[in-house]
Symmetry: D2
Subunit: 473 residues, 4 copies
């Protein structure tokens, strides 16, 4: 498991009139698929009646033509893509979650992670609450519906519940008549909205999902802001606590988000290209060709090429048919796992001194295999340039990082890593360069590189702490 | 839709040691499949950790070999088969339901229906409760877990919660360490337990499920009784309120239960045979042959034959490959829908005066088609004898009867019904005969025939009252 | 594997006008499902263009609503259900087979088995023929299309090819414009036709398939007869060689065919009932109750009861949800395999002396388990009566019998078998009684009981002789 | 349908010892998936016994882990990926085809198309041959097996049959003991072989499939060459008719083949890069940025950038989750179909003069949508450069081109096309430049651009001529 995983993507839409709204959510989720590949769900609101489909699988798999056609027309809907652990109960954890309470229905789609979820949950249970899932989202649903017992409106209940929540949350809620979107006060996870020519409001984790459904980007939801959309249009019920996030996850720029998205004012592609430029300045090398590891190293590779003057080349062909059902070679085969997915173009790399730009080194296994392929194809030198700083710490805000003991950067110097992965040299982006990825950078969270967490961290950190706790009784 | 539907079957097992317990539940549910064909579920308890699989479909479909193998070993498990409405949310309503609360996990499998569910739920919601499903079972789970906040044990919490519940409930609960079974004070739905040679306790809706898993029948759970099974074996924590049920659903004997089951002391097959004997005495007729409509009319037909002296014959062949995926003929085909499933044996019925015994007449459509088949096959006369009284009223205790306006007996005399279905005569079992189906009959509920309900009836009767309520907000 | 297997069922229809013909074939095949559960296929003829679907699985599985809807309208169609060996190539062996030749298309559906297939095939290969399948049917297709090179019509080509074929074949062929049905001169396998009110001709292995599609039975196809159906209706192009078959497989009456079918003038149900009467006379016993092993022993049990005066009872409940996807108990479970499918009704059998009538004993395992169930349920005595003679020899005419060394009757006397299966006594039908199953019996083949084969037997007998042969090169 | 389709890819392997050979073929076919996405098949040879699986679908879909595991170990195997028409019979047309003949088994995998197939087939049918499929491959199988009746070996039979075949064929045959590979005398389709460190010989349509299975490229099979591989290794039984092909399909270089393949001595990537260089010289333009349409325009775009000095940029993000099950927007949605799959990066293209390089223009619809996206994203100018000459004629050698009336280049000048697709200018590669894509170019076929066919063309051209012919009888 040589990858980082984003936990979620969220999408919501409010249309002035009933339409085939699930299909629009489908395209939106499809554009957010890179944010979560384990499960997908859509809840449609038809005059206050909720219909839903949620299951494990890719958007394409969960929403077959028949499944999509089975969802009714409606004027509001909310959708979710999710990364999570596999297991017997994971289907129950699919989002958006739906709850019934005294004042009506509620559907919630959540991207992020609370750091005080354990304490909040325990307090609720002591008052008699029961939980069907192990996700933070059900805890948030409880807090909001409890606030709703006395609050005059659902949006007011949301505002009242927010101070209890600590951590990262970009959230879309749908009630019988309203769509509500909010973002935590530090702005860890992105959230933005747009408007379609037909008057529909669209809220999504990334602007690429607005593009996919023909919505024009209006602006990001601010840190700590709550907006509500209903028959009167969109209005802010709680203003942002600051003009820009204080702790936007920098990995959104350098790894997770799609290059065509614009987050908190900055193009993801340009930010990534910038990492390449930094690498060219900090770790120059004499070479013949700069190539990127497909697909996530290509933007930075182009930046390295521009800044260094070394020509940019296409060094690999990626097999575009690799998917979830692909049968990976087993160890006994001694087949290079990477090779099936990625084949070097010998005519390009043979005899050359190569700068290989990739997005990250987690354990080092993939890098070692990739470099081996280049050498077999005749590369004379391979200089690895990594478009991120070394990974060292756990994330408590919604990213599933490998456990610290598996992170190669926790045990080795760059020189040792170069030896381990077979590179002639290795260079990383410097943590202090990250706040210069664009002219107008928001405040960023770099805890996974530095260990400086912008909030208190969880007293119980296991993802499955509830199972753990209960299983010991 | 010419049938009556039982809502559920439940099954629980407590084994002295960990084993491939899901497979035992599978066989048990398989034997209870006739009680519910819409969904199935199993929750396994492995040292306090719960694993589950629940989905829409037959036991065979939900528990494919791979799905069954994916469930872990364990020492306790609970299972459920369910009939319910189809729809977007119905997967969420699959049982056993599982909840997490302050004192641990709980899984519940429920057969029956509360008549005060609406009021209970509203009261809970006013205290801030949220609901994920629209089923009574979640309400019961709430009441028990709230009682558990102060009760010294889960079984004591169950005993404390019971007085709040009105209606029909045969229930199996599994906590981290105990299996609990209980039956409502009127004993509407059956529940019994047995013991396997390996020391496992088995609780099930019907004794046929004990047979299927090699358990020896011990006794029925009494009305209002609560038993708990744990490492010390089985003990009664709340004794029965009466030696036998006051309101056992009589349709268990004459329609729902499997003929090989023994319920509250009486053989289902013999009770059904008895209905045939009553019919022979009350509605004698000169005829050449008695035949049963497969499969559910066969027991009563044999009774009619014995009591009347008219020979018993095999008049139909039922196509045993008809299943859920069978494509029914459409109206345009003008094909006799019944014919594909049931073909008369001409050599048996041609030229004969036939007594046809069936279990019930709901709308009359099926009876009309069946009798038409017999006449086409050459039957000279067809006398319909129905092994139940005429159906006239809704059931609030867990049976899905067609709506009263569709029940042919609400609009027509037996003579009119005979004309409608093309029979030479029609005879029904008399309601007053029902308490003589066996020598030692328990008290029975005959509300669907007489309209005399043994409890208060619901103020809100729609199955989907929660959706209705909310959709209007 | 404790069962006998019929190899195939065939169905053909010629309609005067184009219609949703595949659906009619679907119902017909569905009624013939008992003749073959491994594969199913339909070929539709739409103005000379053939469309088909063939696959492994039950009729219901191969023809999902979508699959059936994908077949076009047409005026002719032919269908097939098949039993065969499982394996990599078995899909290729699904029927009807379709071939293109110089004069057009041909689709063939075949029930039976040639005894000279090996020789015919070798001769064709020596002339350059290539084969895609390992089935006899392709050989027949070759012989007919070769004859067609010179014959003036397809029906004449069929007539010319017939003398080359030795063995059992009931065959339906469809060309661009005609439907042809034929039966081998000894009449091993049944074949009959009927007429629907809309003027369609229907040909099928058994009359129950005519009933299923609303066709009125007209008559059996005679031994050696060839009929052709086209725009001019049905005509015989080669008359029967004798008024009735000389070698109809007697197992059609006593085991394979559906009880509601009428074959060569006799009711299958009555023939089966007759076996019970013979058993009552030949092997009388003092007993309290006669019960049949569901479903195939019921007809004979009724006959035994009538002839002996011992009351008929319902002794078992069969779980009607047992299907192909049912997970059978494994040895380690020590669960009685039969018990999951078949549960005795204790209230019926306890304390009784039982006559148990079943259709056959192959290896004896199932009988032993069934009798054990009865004894556990309290039966005092169990007398086994078998509605067929002892099985001793292989069949070369389309029945898959267990290999002779596994047949218990080849190694043990009836008394020994009684001891082996735990019965108090065992009685079989006498081979000489078989020609008296009805007043007007056709000539019958009883080779599997007597070893007297009505034709030469194959020089190479393995089902997979072609694979064997080639694999050794 | 805005695309060109290659008909097939072939793969064969001969291993000195039995192994899990199907898995190797799986990886090989996976690397050839771009040559055919409609069907896939593998035949494994285990000591002369053939086992196979063939079905419609992608390699991943046909060969699920279970399906792959069901194939046995073996020492030889042949595989195929196929593009073809969808329809009732198309499963029967899946390859490799397998036939049994007097001398044994034969499996054939074919890439190409015969131009005299109709005449060959008619001649065979007149001698009594029957055909199960409508593909050329079955005709080839017949000719070879007929030659085999007298030829001393299978390879000699192949050599004898070749003169009868006119058109394009790269073919792999597997007999019980040998693997044979051959290529038509004009060398239309590529075919090469390599050697693995374990001594296995691998034959494949493209060298990228050798890379995928760890085989070292040895050489191309020459035009008209026949090689046989058996226990004695590989030997040529018929030498090439010329050192290089006379008529290699030039579209292999500029469209079909994978950029990492090397065909007849030339790198596909470099040939494609060369087309970009030609475009830069023939159609220079003042611009700010060169971008390629992903993925097939990227190589040429890089060439254009290098030759013109205009910077290369990444202008689009392609949604990598688009697959066969993706639900395309319908017309009513008015959603830009292309947009869901391809989103421009506004920060890159806004305000720029763009050179957009794509591989071809077929109907023009896709180009129009793509250019519209760029303009919406703020591009100031869009100059379309097409890395191929205009498409004007049908291909009879294995490529499924749209019908001539749909080809926009048949009705419009480049200037008109520019207007139609909304480009500021359009430039195509010149047909005469095609023979200079590399220093050592083989003879090429450019018939689809020029109409100069290197062989006689079919008298009957419809793909489905056999159905047509027969349906009219």
């Amino acid at each position: 498991m040589e990858q980082l995983h984003e936990e979620c993507g969220v999408f919501g839409i409010y249309s002035p009139k009933s339409c085939d709204i699930a299909k629009t959510v489908y395209y939106g989720l499809f554009a957010l698929q890179h944010r979560g590949q384990e499960g997908a769900g859509i809840v449609v609101n038809t005059d206050g009646v909720f219909s839903s489909r949620k299951d494990l699988g890719l958007v394409n798999e969960v929403f077959s033509p028949a499944a999509l056609a089975a969802l009714p027309q409606g004027s509001m809907a909310v959708g979710h893509v999710r990364y999570g652990t596999t297991g017997g109960n994971s289907r129950a954890n699919c989002q958006p979650i739906e709850v019934n309470h005294i004042k009506g229905h509620l559907a919630l789609a959540h991207n992020g992670n609370l750091t005080n979820a354990f304490e909040l949950r325990q307090a609720l249970e002591l008052k008699g609450a029961i939980f069907h899932t192990t996700s933070d989202t059900e805890t948030i649903a409880y807090l909001i519906t409890r606030a709703r017992l006395t609050a005059p409106s659902i949006e007011e209940a949301v505002v009242q519940a927010m101070p209890e929540l600590v951590g990262a949350y970009s959230l879309i809620l749908m009630s019988s008549q309203k769509l509500i979107a909010l973002r935590d006060p530090l702005g860890f996870r992105p959230l933005c909205y747009g408007l379609r020519p037909d008057g529909s409001y669209v809220v999504a984790s990334e602007s690429c999902a607005l593009d996919a459904v023909g919505a024009n980007f209006v602006r990001d939801i601010g840190p700590g802001e709550v907006v509500v959309i209903d028959e009167n249009g969109l209005r802010t019920v709680k203003p942002p606590v600051s003009p820009a996030p204080k702790s936007l996850c920098v990995f959104e720029y350098i790894y997770f988000a799609r290059p065509d998205s614009v987050i908190d004012g900055n193009s993801v592609h340009l930010a990534r290209q910038k990492t390449g430029e930094f690498l060219a300045k900090t770790y120059p090398v004499e070479a013949d060709l700069v190539i990127g590891a497909p697909d996530s190293g290509l933007d930075a590779a182009l930046g390295y090429s521009h800044a260094s003057g070394i020509p940019y080349g296409i060094g690999f062909v990626k097999n575009k048919y690799v998917g979830r059902s692909f049968i990976a070679p087993n160890q006994a085969d001694r087949t290079n796992t990477v090779k099936i997915k990625l084949n070097p173009i010998s005519s390009v790399v043979a005899g050359k001194r190569i700068v290989l730009v990739d997005d990250s080194i987690v354990r080092g296994t993939t890098s070692r295999q990739t470099i081996a392929l280049l050498r077999q194809a005749g590369a004379r030198e391979v200089h690895m340039r990594v478009a991120a700083p070394p990974f060292r710490h756990a994330c408590f805000y919604g990213v599933d990082v490998d456990s610290p003991e598996n992170l190669v950067a926790n045990h080795h110097t760059p020189a040792e890593i170069a030896a381990l992965i077979g590179a002639d040299s290795v260079g990383y982006v410097q943590p202090e360069q990250l706040c210069h990825l664009a002219a107008q950078m928001p405040g960023i969270c770099t805890a996974c590189f530095t260990g400086d967490y912008p909030t208190s961290v969880p007293s119980h950190t296991e993802k499955d702490r509830f199972e753990q706790k209960l299983s010991k009784k």
